[in-house]
């Protein structure tokens, strides 16, 4: 039996954290930690070493852009998903250059769940 995919959710909106934890667990993932800003998120990722971190981009204390750069240096085994309300040219360019997959916030979790599964599948090939 395959071990469930372990996820860390990083978002400054408490209701988005609540929603993602609930939705991802209903999809069969294990949310090992949630964090409310980039700094907490980096710490949670380094502690739990999840398969995937879902990271909001606009957050106080430390933005998702900064957290992504740190995690790519310090925990390259973690697959990263940038989870954002809007994805303008700047965000698309930045994430393409960083090699990070973008996912738009949506009530339907299926696209995000598929993205997470695909990232883990690619990583394990």
């Amino acid at each position: 039996m395959t071990a469930p995919i372990r996820v860390v959710v990083i978002d400054d909106e408490p209701d988005i954290r609540l929603l993602l934890k609930l939705q991802l667990e209903m999809e069969g993932f294990v949310v090992v930690a949630t964090a409310q800003d980039g700094a907490e998120g980096v710490e949670a990722c380094l502690t739990h070493l999840p398969d995937v971190a879902v990271i909001d981009l606009l957050m106080p204390v430390m933005t998702g852009f900064e957290a992504i750069a740190i995690l790519q240096r310090q925990a390259p085994s973690i697959s990263l998903v940038a989870y954002t309300g809007v994805a303008g040219d700047f965000v698309r360019t930045q994430m393409a250059e960083a090699g990070v997959t973008l996912a738009l916030k949506a009530g339907d979790v299926k696209p995000l769940a598929a993205t997470i599964s695909e990232l883990v599948a690619v990583r394990s090939r």
Partner: protein, 238 residues
Amino acid sequence: MAELVQSLGRIRNRALNVLGHELRTPVTTVRGLADALAALGHDADETTRTTLVDAVQRNAHRVERLLDNLLAALEVGTAMPVGPTVSVLPVAVAQAVWADPEGPLRDGELKVDGDADVEVAVRLESLKRILWEILDNASRYGTSPTTLRVDTVEGVDGALGLVVLTIDSPGRPLAPEDIRYATQALWRGESAVTSTPGLGLGLAVADALARHEHGSLVVEGLAAGGLRTVLTLPMGAS
């Protein structure tokens, strides 16, 4: 001309991006949690159900407030408060707003300086919303304490006087354009864009409502850093 069109296009896109971002979070939450509640059905225990329903209501309220503020900031007449003009104590309203569990109070303190018994003549809903937006802005971007000073200007030739409410929120020095455009709808200071959720409507709403109540709002930078908001309203009849 082509440059102007390009510039306007960039402004439009920036505004729509900000609006989309702020709408996306509550709409995502309402849709997602409603779906989750439906999927869980009778499997959800009472605590879970209450948590999810509360979150749905909170985010539906957030969309409603965002819509109200957008229309008010753009001065769409139908969104402006109606009802009678009454004499009220602005200091008491400010303290109530500050202490409201859903209001701007976080960890900071609101200090009052001046005559707390002075009244202004406004629609109560307008005053609450104006003060909510100013104090929310102060507590989001400033450091404690926020101070509210009350001054009066006597009327001449039998005219009613004015009440001047000066709200100071110390903080980091602000860029001149952030102060110049602070009351423009959808304008957000550069430091706010990446650090704090918001639509850039708060002071625009306060400004529109102040004028709706025959008053005015002026925003200026404090010499030591932070923001001063000066709200002037007609004095109450008492």
